[in-house]
């Protein structure tokens, strides 16, 4: 049986306590929320914290608030994916968020995994998400214990991919994240939370806690999320397409198209969005946007399915997502 390594576990009752334990323990400490990402990774010795600080008992992190009368919806970072997808307001007004949540892994895992956990999900790569013993047989990789990124051996960087389903939706939607440090709170746009690097994939400082996700008020915009994977349960995305559109009557006034699982961060494709601005999402405009999204979509050989097909599917999924938005608007 695969087992966890030994560590010290803390279950603080306040945010402040959590921050202090983490600060005192230094870089060998990590936060945990649902544990569905961290614990498997610890069992495979990807992360080996000496101290684990649970956020599960911190009050206030497990609430969904706001949304009435066109206000911002605040989703606490420890809200479970089940709570998120079942939340009436989120289902109705932020359906792309609910959709992304219900597409994550399995209904059982959604009872455990959290919003914050999925957004901070460690980048993934099938050279990395393997046991210690397996990784030893390729002499490890750059992301843990090794020197080389086996996905692109001559590359100076790690190409592990952002496999979060909520992240591309949050970026497309223009969500804001609240980060709490021991002496300050700050808010940043979702797009600025992620970095294009497989190892340093977040701009969040290690001690900071992601406390809430602020979804913009629902007024005049629409968004969808399409997820590609081999099976309709368990699997991480091999491609995610999140599209956000602001309508002006029948025309697209503003748009964002963000690709998940093809880069180390949610990849926004402004050229694709540009292609539909001012359009009524006619087939031509959709095709142009799909072509624009196809170009920068550069899947690497580090997850399921072949590269060429995943790239091909970028075009198909962008088309599909835009057609869905068109249909919903008509």
């Amino acid at each position: 049986m695969l087992r966890l390594p030994s560590f010290t576990y803390h279950q603080p009752r306040t945010l402040r306590q959590a921050l202090r334990i983490k600060r005192d323990a230094g870089p060998t400490a990590m936060y945990v929320a649902g544990g569905t990402d961290l614990y498997p990774n610890m069992k495979r010795r990807h992360q080996e914290p000496q101290v684990v600080v649970s956020l599960a008992n911190v009050p206030g992190l497990r609430r969904i608030r706001g949304g009435t009368k066109g206000s911002v919806v605040s989703v606490g970072a420890c809200v479970t994916l089940t709570e998120l997808r079942e939340h009436r307001h989120v289902r109705k007004k932020h359906s792309a968020v609910a959709r992304a949540a219900e597409l994550i892994s399995t209904p059982i895992l959604q009872n455990m995994g959290t919003v914050g956990g999925n957004i901070c999900l460690d980048t993934r790569c099938n050279y990395y998400n393997q046991s210690y013993e397996w990784r030893k047989s390729i002499n490890f990789c750059m992301k843990k214990d090794g020197e080389i990124c086996w996905v692109a051996p001559s590359s100076p960087r790690c190409w592990a991919i952002c496999s979060s389903d909520l992240a591309p939706v949050a970026v497309a939607m223009g969500a804001e994240f609240t980060l709490q440090d021991i002496d300050a709170e700050r808010s940043i746009p979702a797009r600025d939370f992620f970095r294009d690097d497989g190892i340093e994939y977040l701009t969040k400082r290690p001690d900071e806690i992601l406390t809430e996700v602020r979804l913009p008020p629902a007024n005049g915009w629409d968004a969808v999320y399409w997820k590609l994977r081999r099976r309709e349960a368990f699997d991480f995305p091999v491609l995610g397409v999140a599209v956000w559109i602001e309508w002006d009557g029948a025309q697209v006034a503003d748009a964002r198209i963000v690709l998940g699982a093809v880069a180390s961060y949610p990849l926004e494709v402004p050229e694709a969005a540009q292609a539909i601005l001012g359009s009524r999402l006619e087939d031509d405009a959709i095709a142009t946007a799909a072509d624009a999204a196809y170009k920068p979509s550069k899947p690497m050989d580090n997850t399921d399915f072949g590269l060429a097909w995943r790239k091909h599917m970028t075009r198909e999924y962008v088309k599909g997502a835009l057609r869905e938005l068109r249909k919903r608007h008509s």
């Binding site: 544990g35 059982i108 349960a233």
Partner: protein, 179 residues
């Protein structure tokens, strides 16, 4: 080369409620609920297939909700209610789900069965008359390699029907095939 690990810290001690019975457990603090149930509380009815949250075999109910016990830290269960397959029987009688699984051969090797029974129990608690699609979705996180799931759906439907008070016999096609 592996770093020399310090000796394991002293055991942790918690109280929790397992199958409606207050119990105490002492264990190495890094142990998961799965390990504690099986190794410290002797409840080996909870099985495991990967210990990484990738199969659903180790599913138990925590505060009434299905969770993967391989990814729940024992220390996080202080004071909580846990339900395992051992808790499903009503005294000497089988739970209607257990009865229906036995009747339709929905447990072949029986290894994924405890996790599936508990997931199904939680489903029926929330939805007493699930459709086939709702059953499929609810069980989509429990892998089974033997049955092709069909006998499992049929058993859940049969049990749901009986739990609603409808005296039901299984569909003939489930038993003899189509004729």
């Amino acid at each position: 080369m592996v770093k020399r690990k310090p000796p394991l810290p002293a055991k942790a001690h918690i109280r929790l409620v397992v199958n409606d019975e207050a119990v105490e457990a002492s264990f190495a603090p890094h142990k998961t609920l799965l390990e504690i149930l099986r190794e410290d509380l002797g409840l080996t009815g909870t099985k495991h297939g990967c210990e990484l949250g990738e199969c659903g075999t180790c599913t138990v109910l925590l505060e009434g909700h299905p969770v993967l016990s391989c990814l729940v830290l024992g220390l996080a269960c202080e004071g909580k209610h846990v339900r395992t397959v051992e808790g499903m029987r009503h005294g000497p009688d089988l739970h209607p789900l257990q009865e229906a699984f036995a009747e339709l051969g929905a447990a072949q090797c029986g290894y994924c069965t405890p996790g599936i029974l508990l997931t199904a129990e939680a489903l029926l608690e929330a939805n007493s008359a699930p459709t086939r699609d709702e059953i499929k979705l609810a069980l989509s996180g429990n892998l089974c390699r033997c049955t092709g799931y069909i006998k499992i759906y049929e058993a859940v439907e049969l049990a749901a029907s009986r739990m609603r008070g409808d005296p039901t016999t299984p569909p003939e096609e489930a038993i003899y095939g189509r004729r």
